[in-house]
């Protein structure tokens, strides 16, 4: 598909050239510098980027894509979903099911027809909803369609009934909590408490091999870049401005003849599909998906990333995902008991002191420099 010239002009038009320089630099670092520093220097040298760092960054890139999805629906459309972790987890389960089927007869029980946990539960045949997941294209499609369909149905019911604000946030929490309880059950057929794990390879590439890990990392970086362009395309359109109008004065939008229900449904569904895609890329890199990914706290954390980075900016969402998760990795190693307190304090500090997040702080500092100069 080629874009109409003025549509692509709109996508890349900006009054801030630094945005594109910054994005270009980020792309260069993520796609060229880090892979080169992983492959070329000998391990142990000061310049070498170890494999575990590559995988860690790959994880962060998936979180950043998830944060972008959250920013679209919250920062631009004003819908504070506290259930986005559910869409991420569903995408992850879809990919996990594919990798589960790829194990074949290499499992503990050597059963080519059934995943280990089903053999353990004494199941005789594969449930119908596992059909098709031995095909990569099917699993990839489901990673997008299942979260998208859930968001569409859930959103249609909620937005049509004009459920907004904190009420909507609460029912999205309830949604992800209900899914967590459901996925904990062995009878659901998704591995219960343990979830899906012991994956061997993806499309024939062993997951333990550094080159596979690097490829997954690169793919995550690429997907983040494409997701950024896609979301930017949406928010720079007239539809994007209607979203902001819905965020600021929803009932007024109706009297202009637009349907806020349709606008929010579009943003929510697209956002859920992006979250599913992020989840599908995340699971092969961490090697496990279990019901704890549905836990309400996870979804709240996503909102914190976006709030810390600065909502309604896209770049802020990505920065927030990296900053908070970087801090989490460091602190859960250095002082694990402090992490949750710090996360809570961070959220309060940002809400009270930095309503526009880190990006807003940067803007304030710049404006002050201009004034003082």
């Amino acid at each position: 598909m080629t874009l109409h010239p003025s549509l692509s002009a709109r996508l890349f038009a900006t009054d801030d050239r630094r945005l594109w320089w910054g994005l270009g630099a980020a792309a260069l670092v993520l796609l060229v510098v880090i892979p080169a520093l992983n492959l070329l220097p000998t391990p142990g040298s000061a310049l070498h980027v170890p494999n575990y760092v590559v995988t860690l960054l790959g994880k962060y890139l998936c979180y950043a894509t998830l944060a972008l999805a959250m920013d679209l629906v919250w920062g631009y459309c004003g819908v504070l979903s506290l259930g986005h972790g559910a869409f991420f987890a569903l995408g992850g389960y879809a990919m996990g099911m594919f990798m589960m089927r790829s194990i074949g007869a290499r499992g503990v029980y050597g059963n080519a027809e059934l995943p280990d946990f089903m053999v353990f539960l004494n199941w005789k045949e594969l449930p119908w909803y596992w059909m098709g997941f031995d095909q990569f294209w099917f699993a990839a499609l489901m990673a997008l369609l299942v979260p998208g369909a859930l968001a569409f149905v859930f959103g249609w019911l909620a937005f049509r009934s004009r459920i907004t604000g904190v009420y909507l946030s609460i029912i999205t929490q309830a949604m992800t909590y209900a899914l967590m309880l459901a996925f904990f059950r062995n009878e659901m057929g998704f591995g219960g408490n343990n979830g899906l794990t012991d994956f061997k390879d993806i499309l024939g590439f062993p997951l333990a091999q550094p080159s596979t890990k690097l490829a997954l990392y690169l793919l995550s970086a690429l997907v983040l870049g494409l997701a950024f362009l896609l979301v930017r395309f949406v928010i720079t359109s007239k539809l994007g401005r209607i979203m902001m109008a819905v965020r600021d004065a929803e009932s007024r939008v109706r009297f202009l003849g637009y349907s806020p229900t349709h606008v929010k449904l579009f943003a929510f569904t697209l956002s859920a599909m992006l979250a599913g895609l992020a989840g599908a890329l995340y699971v092969p890199q961490v090697g496990i998906i279990n019901p704890s990914e549905f836990s309400p706290a996870n979804s709240i954390e996503i909102a914190i990333w976006v709030a810390v980075g600065g909502r309604g900016t896209l770049v802020g969402a990505v920065l927030g995902a990296f900053a908070v998760n970087g801090a989490k990795t460091w602190l859960t190693g250095a002082a694990p008991e402090l992490w949750l307190f710090l996360l809570g304090a961070l959220f309060i500090a940002v809400t009270l002191g930095l309503p526009k997040g880190l990006l807003g702080l940067w803007g304030q500092i710049r404006r002050k420099e201009v004034r003082d100069a």
Partner: protein, 267 residues
């Protein structure tokens, strides 16, 4: 988008033919109550195409509730509300009614504060309202010309790129009127359009209303407290009181009416 299912039979045969025939807006026996309080009490009102009508009345007379009923924000408990002789507005929601050609300016000016003045007008611009149509929408030069013309007309040409939130109260009123113009509606409902305006702004607004009504393609209903403004419009006046019509006629007739004087001055 409309089909025959929206057509209704008007129940009482008030003479030969359809009672709403020849009207752009027809309200008959409309009642609305909130927790026992009758905001509208069997209100009836007929507006002819191209007519300019002013509505006055003390606070709580039901002026805003009447607009809420016409624009689909409030469902009446009983009564008929017909647009263009036969479209039953009580069955439609706000956006469907807006797309039929009914525009509204609110009592408290409501503009999209985080968008620029230009973008506020762009959203109001008459164009396909569908989700995918707006996603792929491209501003053509004729659109730009229309927006520029409206900007000039509402005196905000030099504020096009400014955030709407930074405008003064009077300028927001004008912007909202501009948004109504961009929608190109057949029936305009304006709730206190000159509240918070200076005298010269009020005069200019009156002139704009008269201009809009002049060519007969639009009908206007203006709710206003400012008697100077009502006089400047020189249109038929309807006085509402306790949810129904108390009197109707020219401003002079109304002001001479003993009931009206009592309602306004009697307590």
């Amino acid at each position: 988008m409309l089909d025959d299912s929206f057509e209704v039979q008007v129940d009482e045969p008030a003479g030969p033919g359809v009672p709403a025939a020849g009207s752009i807006l027809y309200l008959d026996g409309v009642s609305v109550s909130f927790d026992g309080f009758k905001a509208l009490n069997s209100l009836s009102l007929i507006l002819a195409p191209g007519e300019l009508r002013t509505i006055v009345g003390p606070n709580g007379a039901g002026k805003t509730t009447m607009m809420d009923v016409i624009t689909g924000k409030t469902r009446p408990d009983e009564g008929d509300v017909l647009f263009d002789q036969k479209i039953d507005l009580t069955q439609l929601d706000e956006s469907e009614i807006a797309n039929l050609g009914i525009g509204r300016k609110f009592q408290k000016p409501t503009v999209f504060e985080h968008l620029s003045v230009f973008e506020n007008l762009e959203l109001a611009l008459k164009a396909d309202r569908g989700t995918f149509a707006t996603l792929m929408f491209l501003l053509k030069s004729e659109h730009r010309d229309r927006i520029d013309a409206t900007l000039a007309r509402i005196g905000l040409a030099d504020k096009a790129v400014q955030r709407a939130g930074s405008l003064s109260h009077g300028q927001k009123q004008w912007l909202e009127i501009g948004m109504l113009l961009m929608q190109d509606q057949r029936l305009l409902l304006l709730d206190e359009p000159v509240a918070g305006m200076t005298d010269s702004e009020t005069e200019a607004t009156a002139q704009l209303m008269l201009d809009l009504a002049k060519d007969g393609t639009r009908s206007l209903v203006v709710v206003e407290h400012d008697m100077e403004f009502v006089r400047a419009l020189g249109a038929k006046v309807t006085v509402l009181h306790e949810g129904s019509v108390l009197a109707e006629g020219s401003l002079e007739t109304i002001q001479a009416d003993a009931k009206v004087v009592e309602v306004y001055l009697g307590r």
